[in-house]
Point group: C3
Chain length 299, copies 3
């Protein structure tokens, strides 16, 4: 049996061999809000619960960025509980949910698209509960901190073994809100793709996977091309496997550690070079007039 | 029996059910200094000690900001040891102390006001010891890192079960330095209140609680008003419960997750809109000429 | 028996008394990459492994900064596994290694100088293995994330008790790449020293230790002097033990918590005052025309 990234599931050891694990992703920043979320999940339980901070630096209210990070990271974790809170609609009528995936991961958070791309990559939703009237909600003075008052306690109870049906009301798995993600498009000029994320190194992760999402296969390694952003210009890139496949300061297009195509700049930031960030469009073309004479062109 | 925020204390499980816990707050930033504090507390012990980073992003030397974050967070933790280090006077004659509160929390840090507001909220100080000649101090080459050389080892020993009287010399609990906090004032124009904190979302937390600290009760939900900062102008706000009670870009005055009044901007930063930050004064007035026509005025 | 900073090793308790510990330092930033490194190390093991984030804020690709932080922090940790990843050459022919030191610490990372200064301070390398063909490497789509795909799994296996010889091929300990560090120089004007690091407080840590690296002993405490940076000027300093030994806004030269000489500014940033940062040169002179009239000069 293999996991969501194609590796044997037993590399994570058997169930019960460790403390249960909760992973967390929020837009709270590293600091007291994230700490209170953690405390609300871990300390009501009488037994030890392990904790992993996936990311608290999601841009404020950026549900898509949070969703992509969950999708990118959760397949590398053993079956665990993940609490995700990027929740600009806190306190409104948006649903709060918990769900189980085919891989046995349990996800807790707002039903605003945040959890869905990860759930899909983890084999899809097998159980979904609405936390609206959850008996685990802590009723405090405010309605603005569901991380501490609802999602944390629910995640803690689930990690300690409480069944999903005890923390909320079962609803149709297909009712989970779907997050729309941009698809690449082939044009006369090349391939239009949207920037999904910029990582810590200034690498641009594209909404474009290795198989070009049905647009055809990639040219062989070493192929050259040009990339153009909305601000015009055209920068050369080489199709490679690692940063060092580009000349110093040059761009490399590569399959990143999550299987997506990404543009990195050797010893620099591709985001800065191309003045591009999340949601910006880039046009990629292989071959053509190549300023980079490191290798033969592949049209 | 209820805890400092009015909930049953047994929600944290019984004593001894988990590893002992140390929570930490400093102005060290996330990085090697905070890691060395943690190591100095956890690894001399022969048994496992759990660790929670409350906040290491306190503004450099800002004792008041650290004190407010401790007061805001510790009531949500089970009885534990908390080490707080915002200590511009390190190496001088300022006292170093450890104390126990009525709730059973143990606080360790400099006696410069940092620990006192939290201790007061946790039922007051029942034991206080001066760490000046503590046998646990590590004598290294420097006198500038009491987090690693004194507070960490003391916190670790206390978490492992060492009595307070073994880590320092007992002194009068009332001798703990009190931190002065600004009080609100009613004027002919409205209520003058000081900004205590700006959170990660740009929300301004005011030195003003739900009961207006004796200035009278709040108008009903939905009431409108105006807030003026030192830079003049006057921005409309609505008294609500959550961010979505304001129109897009509008201000909401609400009781925050700690019971304090706070001003937030829907889909934006109240701090940026009002050009205000910690220690700035704001004047709030309910009723008057309201630019927001979402609801009736309440004078 | 004493540890690398001269304290009894038994202050860390005996072996086996706690969960095994992995400490981590990277230039990944706090977020998903650091979380995936952690997950790759901790969760394949069937037993609990403790984790300490030393620092993920190393400047991108700054091997020297990472090496200095490892050297500064590891002597304060019990024998443990440390994974260090500042690796601009990932995916190239640079070696990946794991090593054991005389103190029993195990270090894992690229062989680019990152690990060597810490290993030297920890008594030197007693075993070294090349991870090039390690059976623990995870073969994924990319060659750009050795933290997750190689160093993490290796660190986890070593923490769980796997012998070094099972994770790589034994090579000559002396073949570990040495990191060159700048040495101080005595000139007619004083002592030229290079800034090694700027810490969170703006303190400049110098490549100059208490014994002046053979240049002679320090003047007595209270001695005054001047420091000049490449941008000219000359700022007075006092030789002290803590920040408060300088007047407000003044500079103090002191032996820092790692035994190095450092320049701090009381209630401010020495780095900002002197417009200096890592790799900049400073010239220090004791005595001379002192603008600070707090005490007698010592020439």
């Amino acid at each position: 049996m293999t996991d969501a990234v194609g590796r044997p599931t037993d590399r994570f050891g058997g169930p019960g061999a460790r403390s249960p694990l909760i992973a967390a992703l929020t837009d709270y920043g590293i600091g007291p809000y994230a700490a209170l979320l953690q405390a609300s999940a871990r300390y009501p339980a009488a037994v030890g619960i392990d904790w992993l901070d996936l990311d608290h630096g999601v841009a404020l209210g950026d549900v898509r960025a949070g969703a992509l990070t969950l999708r990118r990271t959760l397949p590398h974790l053993p079956p665990c509980v993940c609490v995700g809170v990027v929740d600009p609609g806190v306190g409104t009528a948006r649903r709060a949910v918990a769900l189980r995936t085919a891989t046995g991961h349990v996800l807790v958070g707002p039903d605003n698209g945040l959890l869905q791309p990860a759930a899909r990559r983890l084999g899809g939703v097998t159980e979904l509960v609405d936390l609206g009237g959850s008996p685990l909600r802590i009723h405090g003075p405010a309605r603005t901190f569901d991380g501490r008052d609802l999602f944390g306690p629910v995640a803690g109870a689930l990690a300690a073994g409480t069944p999903l049906s005890d923390v909320g009301v079962e609803v149709e798995p297909a009712s989970l809100m779907v997050l729309a993600l941009p698809a690449p498009r082939r044009t006369v000029e090349g391939i239009d793709a949207t920037v999904l994320e910029v990582d810590h190194f200034g690498t641009l992760v594209l909404a474009l996977d290795e198989q070009l999402t049905g647009l055809g296969p990639l040219p062989p390694l070493g192929a050259s091309g040009r990339v153009r952003s909305a601000l015009g210009g055209g920068e050369a890139f080489v199709l490679g496997q690692t940063f060092a496949d580009a000349p110093h300061g040059g761009l490399v297009l590569f399959v990143d550690s999550d299987g997506a195509l990404a543009l990195a700049r050797r010893d620099g930031s591709a985001a800065a070079l191309l003045h591009s960030g999340p949601a910006d469009a880039l046009t990629l073309a292989f071959g053509g007039d190549d300023a980079d004479d490191d290798g033969p062109l592949v049209a």
